[in-house]
Amino acid sequence: MDGAGGDSIVKTVEEIKAAIEAAVPGAGVTVVHNGSPSGQHSLRIEPEHAVEVATFLRDDAELALDFLSNVTGVDFLDKEVSEKIKVTRPVTKTVDGLEQTVEETVEETRKHVEPGYLEAVYHLFSVAKKHGPVVLRMRTRNRSDEVELPSLTPIWRSAEFQEREVFDLYGIVFKGHPDLRRLLMWDEFKDHPMRRDYVEPDDYEYEPTPHDKVLARAQAHKAAAAAGEEKA
């Protein structure tokens, strides 16, 4: 927020990282750089040590990050990565009328899927020391069955409703949360609407002033309805 303010910076992210690693052995903190003018770099912490790290950040006399202002989620889809690799392999060829096995370098395109993940982002401030934000991130293993992260509600009470919201809209399950229920949607609801692959219900039957994406959806709905009528 006040990154350029100079005296508002108690410690840089690198210094905070060093302090965390000194206090919590094996914490495994990664600095995620932000290239924008705001330069709001963040610290990615490993979920296994998250509670210890958070306790340290809150209780450390120098940092005293006593206020959690914001918790949010980010969704990263599974990514198909294709890369070109040079492979050397034996090829049988006819050279000068003789069959020979020659080593040849061939370029090959390999594709593999990098699993996506969900991220929880925490913005911390210090009211006592008047600095912040310090941005914490945590990643889940994937976005289907291993979506558990430790809850930071026991450390900062203000995380309670915001973690519920992240659970509701992104589907991150916070272990250790005192009351993890949906917050905005109803209990029977199955989807997570802020995920990037969320499929919304097809309720475009009446769009009096459609434009852009809504126009496309309305036309798709109309076509689907017409096809359904023809079948029936």
């Binding site: 949607m185 029977e188 309720d203 009446y206 009096p208």
Partner: protein, 204 residues
């Protein structure tokens, strides 16, 4: 049968008051419409302003906002109806006694408004309950709500007590209870009440 206006005035001068049951009945109905005291979003702030001294909705007979649906005649849908709230709104409407009226106030209540394509917003409350007056605006000014109120009064005044178009509470066959939508796994079920709302024909 309506009484000739000129004759009525002449008789009034002589101290004779002539009217019809229909006129008297509708005058009573339209002059004491008590709204239900509940708000859904920012339109509710304008609704509250309408009831306060500057705009003073009480001048039109809506003297007091009732905190119970049993005592209220008018439901002002003042704001965004979310899919989570919609069943409760329909249930409240079901709990109101006839005669009852509905004003859908503002862009959200009539169509979903700026949140129409949101995953959590109902595209207009008229999909589930019959609406008497729609007011556009985001939010509508208090004058607009007063205008809607006067439109509703005119509508009540013009109603015949017998015949096909008689008010719902005088028609034993009229639908009294409206089905409350169920919150399903992906959306409300059903997504609209076909007895109340059908897809309007768009004329371009």
């Amino acid at each position: 049968m309506a009484v000739d206006e000129g004759l009525k005035i002449e008789l009034g001068k002589q101290g004779v008051f002539v009217t019809t049951i229909e006129e008297l009945y509708n005058w009573g109905r339209r002059s004491s419409i008590w709204p239900m005291q509940f708000g859904l979003a920012c339109c509710a702030i304008e609704m509250i302003a309408t009831t306060m001294a500057r705009y003073d909705l009480a001048r039109f007979g809506s003297e007091v906002f009732r905190p119970s649906p049993r005592q209220a005649d008018l439901m002002i849908i003042s704001g965004t109806v979310t899919k989570k709230m919609a069943p409760q709104v329909v249930r409240l409407y079901n709990q109101m006694a006839e005669p009852r009226y509905v004003i859908a106030m503002g862009a959200c209540a009539i169509s979903g408004g700026p949140f129409k394509q949101g995953y959590n917003v109902l595209k207009g409350i008229d999909r589930y309950i019959p609406v008497d007056v729609h007011i556009p605006g985001c939010p509508p000014r208090p004058e607009a709500l007063i205008q809607a109120f006067m439109t509703l009064q005119k509508k009540i005044d013009g109603q015949a007590l017998t015949g096909e178009d008689r008010p719902r509470h005088l028609n034993a066959e009229a639908q009294g209870e409206f089905p409350v939508p169920v919150q399903g796994e992906h959306d409300l079920e059903p997504t609209s009440n076909p007895g109340v709302w059908t897809v309007p024909v768009v004329i371009r």
